[in-house]
């Protein structure tokens, strides 16, 4: 069965390593913070200028001057640093953030990603997404494998305006975990109960299936 949003976040959280500085995008990526494995510490970067993002505030703690990149009220974790947006993106562009997790409309087999614009429908702007995909050491994309209409989001070539090129390394969808390399999607894991055939049928781009594909493990 396809994973829930929470399960996708749980699976992504397994990619975290102790001491990682991580930037989590809006939506499912934000949920990843709830599933950091035990025994591991990560520090969250918020691109408006906060390293060491804490949990949401209690009602008493709400402060208009303390928000995250999603414009939500947040807190600073112990040992946090706050800086201006140029310094924040210096950090991102300079490759100092270990991992970025973000959503996308489409990803293609070259590791290109489209996530910010649907011509004539959605022109809100790219915010920090282009900087993040150009700068992070490692990028994981979370999204549903296919649209509501069943159209694959894992393509031979993106059809929408791009956010970045040759940058996506890993994809966690509601159906599978895939690696992107050498111009193809490589199937690594499948969601519990989801068949390889279903994944093949919903992947429009070049898909490599090598040997037995294990099911994802959730503790």
């Amino acid at each position: 069965m396809a994973l829930s949003r929470e399960q996708v976040a749980m699976r992504v959280a397994q990619e975290l390593q102790d001491g990682f500085y991580v930037n989590l995008g809006i939506g499912i990526p934000t949920l990843v913070a709830n599933y950091v494995p035990e025994g591991i510490e990560v520090m969250l970067q918020s691109e408006n200028g906060l390293l060491g993002m804490g949990p949401y505030p209690t009602e008493d703690q709400v402060d208009a001057d303390m928000i995250n990149a999603g414009k939500e009220t947040v807190t600073a974790a112990t040992g946090a640093a706050i800086f201006n947006s140029a310094d924040s993106f210096a950090m991102i562009r300079g490759g100092h953030v270990d991992l970025t997790v973000l959503g996308a409309f489409e990803v293609d087999q070259q590791g290109n990603i489209a996530s910010w614009m649907i011509p004539k429908k959605l022109i809100k702007g790219m915010g920090g997404a282009m900087d993040l995909v150009a700068g992070a050491q490692n990028i994981i994309v979370t999204m549903t494998h296919a649209s509501k209409h069943g159209d694959s989001k894992l393509l031979e070539a993106c059809t929408l305006p791009l956010t970045g090129v040759n940058c996506v390394k890993k994809i966690v969808t509601d159906l599978a975990v895939l690696e992107v390399k050498d111009g193809a999607f490589h199937l690594l894991e499948r969601a519990p109960g989801v068949s390889v055939d279903e994944i093949i049928s919903k992947t429009a781009g070049k898909l490599i299936v090598n040997g037995d594909i294990p099911e994802m493990q959730f503790a």
Binding site: D65, I67, E72, I82, G125, G128
Partner: protein, 232 residues
């Protein structure tokens, strides 16, 4: 002898000299850390044909969004304008022109503008619509695009504390684009929560040295929050 006393007492004085067609660089991220009173004054002045450089354009009835009602903005350079229905309508109607710019590139363009760096290379946006018409150059085998700096006739910023010399300190994440914006204006105006005497701010803890600031005004802030999100 005025010396270095930058304090002004009226908004009219604070925005004196702003004229039709000017470029305004504005600090703030969403509604956080925005110079509310200076924006209101621009609305009051009814200055037109403005180019506004800001990460966002406020919301319909707050922040830079209030300048849309009377069509004061001709062009905006921003990274995200998705919170504003009126903006979208004016964009579709061709009343307003928008230059969408990646957030980090925008911050760096402002910094470069203030720092006398006319252009810099970045990988951000390479291979995307942002790269159209821009020079590409490879360094160490990776392609980068050339981005030019931004300056404006005015910069408007919001700070927490200022001293009379214009030294500024920002509070928490209300810092955001304000320090870079402050460097990029020919005339930079800071609207602040508190004015203190010179010497009260620790020199090495000043975020924006007074050399960048021409006018300081004490403001009253509503500090509206876009998304109040809490835990139990």
């Amino acid at each position: 002898m005025a010396g270095f006393d930058k304090v002004v007492t009226s908004y009219a004085e604070a925005m004196d000299g702003l004229k039709d067609g000017d470029t305004i660089i504005a600090g703030g991220f969403g509604l956080c850390g925005i110079p509310e009173g200076l924006i209101n004054e621009i609305k009051r002045k009814q200055t037109k044909e403005l180019t506004v450089v800001s990460n966002n354009c406020g919301v319909d009835d707050f922040g830079l969004g209030i300048l849309l009602h009377d069509r004061q903005i001709k062009k905006i350079i921003a990274s995200y304008v998705g919170e504003n229905a009126l903006f979208e309508q004016q964009l579709l109607d061709g009343i307003i022109d928008v230059e969408l710019t990646p957030q980090g590139t925008l911050a760096e363009k402002m910094r470069a503008g203030g720092a006398g760096i006319p252009a810099f290379y970045t990988a951000t946006g390479y291979g995307t619509p942002v790269a159209e018409g821009k020079e590409v150059k490879e360094f160490d085998g990776r392609p980068y695009i050339l981005e030019e700096s931004i300056t404006g006739e005015f910069a408007i910023v919001k700070a927490w504390k200022a001293d009379r010399y214009g030294n500024l300190v920002f509070r928490h994440t209300a810092m955001n684009f304000n320090p870079m914006a402050a460097t990029a204006g020919k005339i930079t105006v800071a609207e602040v929560e508190e004015i203190v005497e010179p010497g009260e701010l620790e020199p090495s803890q000043i975020h924006t040295p007074g050399i960048y600031v021409n006018r300081v005004i004490k403001g009253n802030f509503e500090k509206r929050i876009e998304r109040v999100t809490t835990r139990k």
